[in-house]
Symmetry: C2
Subunit: 554 residues, 2 copies
């Protein structure tokens, strides 16, 4: 796949989106003196740099796993995923390779501590930017070639920098009704509010977006029409909204009409062009694309069909908004938090050069560059693995999360009577619309249930199996609770949350994920399947089943 | 030395200093649910944590220098500092010890990657906070016991967080006339301006501060009286203002009336109490206290007198503003950038608990915690060294910078005819007041110069030898330039800067360090002696001498 060679059209200038905060930020001082900075042979006594001779670290190294440590497709051996994982780590069987960063490089241009632990450009080490560029060219393939990449210290930081670059106090930011709470909380101090847009099973609804923007009444709203959108397009946090249609065999079995997510993104992008909106694509779960959930009897057959070659894998990934961004109105946020570790506190922007320049100035006077230890160790790992190795690593990673996703839903099937139904076009639970929804009923009663009326009366919870990310987003049927209507749903949700906590399991309280809290949509938990030990996942769902049945009966 | 047990008086409440930005920042959501977070035995499926089993790093380690790698007092062997340093590193003679962080700790509570590379509290790892607390209790000794420490990602980040916590748009921040430019640039986007306070040889003048605050006319100034002060009290950047009086022998030799800096700090603190000002103490150079410069003939004798025991060394350090802070109105910023390496991107706040809580909320929705690699490696190093080891390391470090400071001033003595004079109470160059000022004259003419008039005519530059930090702050006698008066001094400074750059040496242009640029004070270079190789330092000063003599003659 060759990258696009089209440059951004000169007629497109998006600098009117820059905020007063951003415009007030000076460019580097004494611009005409800068040509001397870093000129070879010059003796520089200008900077405030400590001597690398007095860094106490003489060398830093690590043992790293190999890129193919985790299988490229789910292993369905008799042993099962759990015992396989335990074998890998507790027996010390996982093969590792060594990376080492010396104080001074042995070869010119080689990575060394003298450079990477020194003050560096806020935009990141050239080798980090090289990697980010390769990721764009090989995976995201932006619709223009003169994009810029630069480092940030994690997507939350990246998002705040984007907000400060684009938004003025009193403005609004378009976001799905359910969204990542930290993103909303981060805007509030600057008097920037979320403007919720309705969702369906694919995430933000394009028709709702258009309606909102077309009919925007600034006076009535007390706010100009929003010109910035926040979106978590893959593994939508918290709902994990569907990103891809299941393959045909599966459609016949469990699902309904679903369009390609790429189409939805294109629709949304085109609306953003029409109404001059900048899209900030916060995409931490991009490499955790798990694909559709197959109930156990069909799983092995579906997995066997999978072509796990590297290029096929890359092609199977849902397109980033960058792919359709012919105007440079997308700021994409990538992070190493999920592909390597959250402790990296490192990620990068991909965006047009003019936004990038403002973002860099902002980084220079706040976070500066990501940690040199993080940059050094991650770059060194990528050099050891090669770019393809990194992609292969994410492939294995996605499969580890697929195993975990399958494992937790299998536990629901074990603990509840789990039934699948397709929710029609206009559902009261908007993000279920057009999806195969799994509804859980009490197990011990399942034989008695046949009538639709009984079923409705007995429903405990519903969910759509996520196709990416780390979370199961569960709608609780609190309307079954005896005190429903007399006690706010929010309170019922909290009561149940506390009963569960007392019984020994913690879920994410749904209400913290609402852009604007809505009683009708209330009563959710976000259940993370990404981290707990498999036994704890099993135990947690078992406790949930017992407590929930009792709670809704009392 | 036992730490103070006095708690902050309840009558003192400084929360009225919190900015609108800070007040609008919510406390953590669902406070009443938080008691369950992290409760042992609970199965948590609430967080969005990746599994540490899929971190590609199996172990991370380093070879670190020993705490006593660098001598505790300047070595004055026949070899000289240069050859000694070269020996240490190029021959690989520097002894190192090994630290290693495993994926899972072998002992309970031990440092491991599963924890340190995971999402963590924004306030930093408990072991990092333990270290910061030990530093406060053993070295800074705040005047109250219930202070809080929490991490930031470097002092620039810490400063911006403090500004956002304390200042509203349109407000002013008190700062010395010459100050760290990034601190000023960082405030500008939020429409917060520096309010310059006059300096003398000790830094900010307390009489000038009192006068400014006492006579503040909000209407005339178009700004409320400032309630926040920014200060770099040690190794004042850029001037390196004096922090300690030289010992008596030296006073007789080269210096004038100088009071203890502690007295000045106390005066300023008391004025800040009177006018309700919060002090932000940005102190990156605290452990680079080099002490007075002794001309070569006296140096060996003075160094021999030095007691280099650890406690004497700690006692010799100038007191932090924390020591006099009985009201909790100091926010102190510490960083590992100079004691370990800038690439750590890690430091900490020490301040009252109420400011700390707001700073932590801000970190949660922006930078989050410092890099886990940085935290892990630095904590592990400190565990290996012990707290005393860390202090011993800083002692060696300060001496390395002392050698460098002495080396560069010795080069001035070599390249110029360098003469010492005490500048009287009211100097036109304010930060020279009360100091021993070194003035450089052309070397080849020195024998002809005897009369005061000739001396004045021939002066090339003047400086006060810094007693801490990394910089020599040089006042250029541009008034000697033939075009002085007809061309702005700023332009002359720039012309000279360019001539020097063309000749092969770069200095920091003085004008970027001015809180408010003042033509009278114009014409400075900030010369860094911290990083360049000794040969380059020598060569750089030699080029400077040639170019400067020629420039002022033409």
């Amino acid at each position: 796949m060759t990258p696009n060679n089209e440059k951004l059209p000169e007629s497109i200038d998006l600098t009117h989106h820059l905020s007063a905060f951003s415009k007030a930020r000076p460019t580097s001082p004494l611009k005409d003196l800068q040509k001397y900075w870093g000129k070879p042979g010059l003796i520089s006594l200008a900077g405030g740099l400590p001597s690398p001779e007095v860094f106490p670290f003489s060398s830093v190294g690590a043992n790293i796993l190999l890129p193919d440590t985790f299988p490229a497709r789910p292993s369905l051996s008799a042993e099962g995923p759990l015992s396989w994982l335990l074998n890998l780590f507790s027996s010390g069987k996982a093969k590792t390779t060594r990376i080492e960063i010396p104080r001074y490089a042995n070869t010119p241009g080689g990575l060394d501590l003298a450079t990477i632990l020194q003050y560096t450009l806020a935009s990141g080490h050239p080798k980090l930017k090289e990697f980010a560029k390769a990721m764009a060219d090989r995976v995201y393939r932006p619709a223009y070639s003169d994009y810029t990449v630069l480092a940030h210290v994690g997507n939350t930081d990246g998002w705040v920098k984007a907000v400060m670059t684009l938004c003025n106090p009193g403005e609004g930011v378009l976001a799905s009704v359910w969204t990542y709470p930290s993103a909303l909380v981060a805007m509030r101090p600057y008097d920037i509010q979320a403007v919720p847009v309705a969702m369906d099973g694919q995430g933000m609804r394009s028709d709702a977006l258009r309606e909102l923007l077309a009919n925007w009444d600034a006076e009535e709203r007390g706010m100009a029409r929003p010109h910035v959108m926040y979106t978590v397009p893959v593994g939508q946090n918290p709902t994990g909204a569907v990103s891809r249609p299941p393959p045909s065999a599966c459609i016949r079995l469990i699902t309904a009409s679903q369009t390609m997510e790429a189409n939805r993104k294109k629709e949304i992008y085109d609306i953003c062009v029409e109404y001059d909106v900048v899209i900030v694509e916060d995409d931490p779960y991009y490499f955790l694309q798990e694909g559709p959930y197959y109930p156990r009897p069909y799983r092995a057959r579906e997995h066997d069909k999978k072509d796990d070659s590297l290029q096929k894998y890359i092609d199977s990934l849902t397109p980033s908004y960058l792919r359709m961004d012919y105007q440079g109105r997308v700021i994409r946020l990538d992070t190493f938090s999920k592909t390597v570790a959250p402790g990296c506190r490192m990620g990068w922007f991909t965006c047009n050069p003019k936004f990038a320049e403002r973002l860099e100035r902002q980084a220079e006077t706040s976070s500066q560059a990501p940690s040199g230890f993080s940059q050094g160790l991650v770059i060194s790992m990528i050099e050891q693995w090669g770019f393809d190795g990194f992609i292969r690593w994410t492939q294995g990673l996605a499969n580890q999360y697929t195993i975990r996703r399958d494992y937790i839903i299998d536990r629901f099937a074990e603990e509840f009577d789990l039934r699948v139904g397709v929710v029609p076009e206009k559902s009261s639970i908007d993000y279920f619309t057009g999806c195969s929804v799994y509804t859980a009923y009490p197990k011990e009663r399942s034989r008695l249930m046949s009538e639709k009326a009984t079923l409705e009366r007995e429903a405990l919870l519903s969910f759509v199996p996520p196709t990416s990310g780390m979370f199961l987003w569960v709608k609780l049927h609190l309307e079954r609770h005896p005190r429903y209507g007399s006690v706010p749903t929010k309170e019922l949700e909290k009561l149940l949350w506390i009963e569960l906590a007392e019984a020994g399991v913690l879920f994410g309280p749904g209400q913290i994920f609402a852009a604007e809290y809505d009683e009708i949509a209330a009563g959710h938990f976000r259940i993370s399947f990404s981290n707990a030990e498999f036994n704890d996942l099993k135990k947690g769902i078992s406790i949930f089943a017992q407590v929930l049945v009792k709670f809704l009966r009392d």
